[in-house]
Symmetry: C2
Subunit: 270 residues, 2 copies
């Protein structure tokens, strides 16, 4: 069976929209890497795969089959319908969405959390997710009107990290910040005009190794004034040269790793 | 005069190709931000601008006029011809290319240099350039078959940083490494399987504040074995979570800032 607009493909295509994902509680993980991580760490219901992709990624098809997921053969045109990339890889998995309740994401004495506040670009959000994962963060929280973590571009940019650590969403930024504080996390707002320079390591304020939630703002506008006012400390990544700023993902990398490396150092020393 | 395929536009369009840039020694800085930085820090010969862009960015047109650059009115179709983006901003400047000889880029006792070895993606290269600028690097070197720094995507991702610090190119990677060593820089190869973890700060090996050239490899393949063997030290960004790796720009951010912040700390303490 290999025609492109089967009812199953049409239903799966709805998962490329946010409303389709919200209604069904499922999303599409597209491409071999995302599918591999979904099979390993997520919950896969169905695998769509073209003939060439079956030859290239036979192990993924066998794995999907072994866990009882439905495997549906599709043609190149159907692969295009299910893809948000210019050159579809011909393999996509229907998975349960990954978000958990805020309280669950923050359970168990977290030490490092990233909070995206109104981050609009899915590629940026996915890259921050990947960096947070690499830095050993305990959770990533999407606050306010941040992009959907299940957006295809975000899934791809995260290279599987959305399956690796708890992800939660809070429409009200204030609720997210309150939950972080209640979980014992200091609120550190990353901001270009902050009181503390990152290189000073928050000396005299508990240091960088103390449990922290890094608040990261929108690409163009940064963090809103009320969030800056609400933070325990505002911290700037120092600019030593003539660049005006860093982009969101690189700023997040520097902040999260500064905490992670200080924490790891503290753990080794302790 | 506002037809789209004037000889001037046709000539400028050639600068969107590498061969066109190499022949003329000029390139196109596209978009208001790139044009602003070019006017401030580069050498601009001609400004192409649509009527709507003239209204939005009158100060740039006046600035170009004041330095004696030719200002050429174009229509929307010409703006498309000169643009490599989906939605052209209608403003682009013809500038002198920015590369300087390797010896010039490394003159004056540099303390921090980024070396891109075979980096293929122009967006990544531009983002690393921006990060290197922000971290106060003294130069960025493009080694081997790395992308052209004047590629439109690289120019945009650099957000003007290509005008802020010396950029040089060396076709032979070995020549670039030799020049760095001769300039007193340790060669630090960023690699996932390295001997040293970044968090250990190269303690016992001069520390992170010592003058260093960070060698950054291709997005997919990393650094070639001969470059790893050639480095003074190989250093890995530790992965604390379950991500397989960091992407090039975020890894570069963590490495360059680790050196920069150690150096700044040393400077403050010294």
């Amino acid at each position: 069976m290999c025609t492109h607009k089967t009812p199953r493909v049409v239903a799966a295509r709805r998962l490329t929209t946010r409303s389709g994902r919200t209604e069904s509680g499922r999303f599409l993980a597209e491409g071999a890497q995302a599918v591999r991580e979904a099979l390993r760490h997520g919950r896969v219901h169905e695998l769509f795969v073209t003939e060439p992709a079956t030859r290239r990624h036979g192990e993924l098809v066998r794995e999907a089959d072994a866990i009882g997921a439905r495997v549906s053969a599709i043609d190149a045109r159907a692969a295009e319908l299910l893809s948000e990339t210019v050159t579809p890889q011909g393999i996509a998995a229907v998975c349960d969405t990954v978000e958990v309740p805020l309280a669950e994401a923050l359970a168990g004495a977290p030490r490092l959390v990233a909070v995206l506040v109104g981050v609009a670009d899915p590629g940026n959000a996915g890259t921050v997710l990947r960096v947070a994962d690499a830095a050993g963060a305990d959770a990533v929280l999407f606050a306010g009107d941040s992009v959907d973590v299940h957006n295809g571009k975000c899934v791809r940019a995260s290279t599987g990290s959305l399956f690796h650590l708890p992800v939660a969403r809070g429409r009200e930024v204030e609720d997210v910040l309150t939950a972080c504080s209640a979980a014992g996390l200091r609120l550190l707002a990353a901001d270009g005009h902050a009181e503390h320079a990152l290189e000073d390591g928050l000396a005299g304020h508990g240091g960088l190794a103390s449990p922290s939630a890094w608040l990261l703002g929108n690409e163009a506008h940064g963090l809103p004034a009320e969030v800056l006012a609400r933070a325990d400390h505002t911290v700037r990544v120092p600019i030593y040269g003539r660049a005006e700023s860093l982009n969101l993902a690189t700023a997040a990398a520097v902040c999260l790793y500064a905490s992670a490396m200080a924490g790891a150092g503290a753990a080794r020393r302790g």
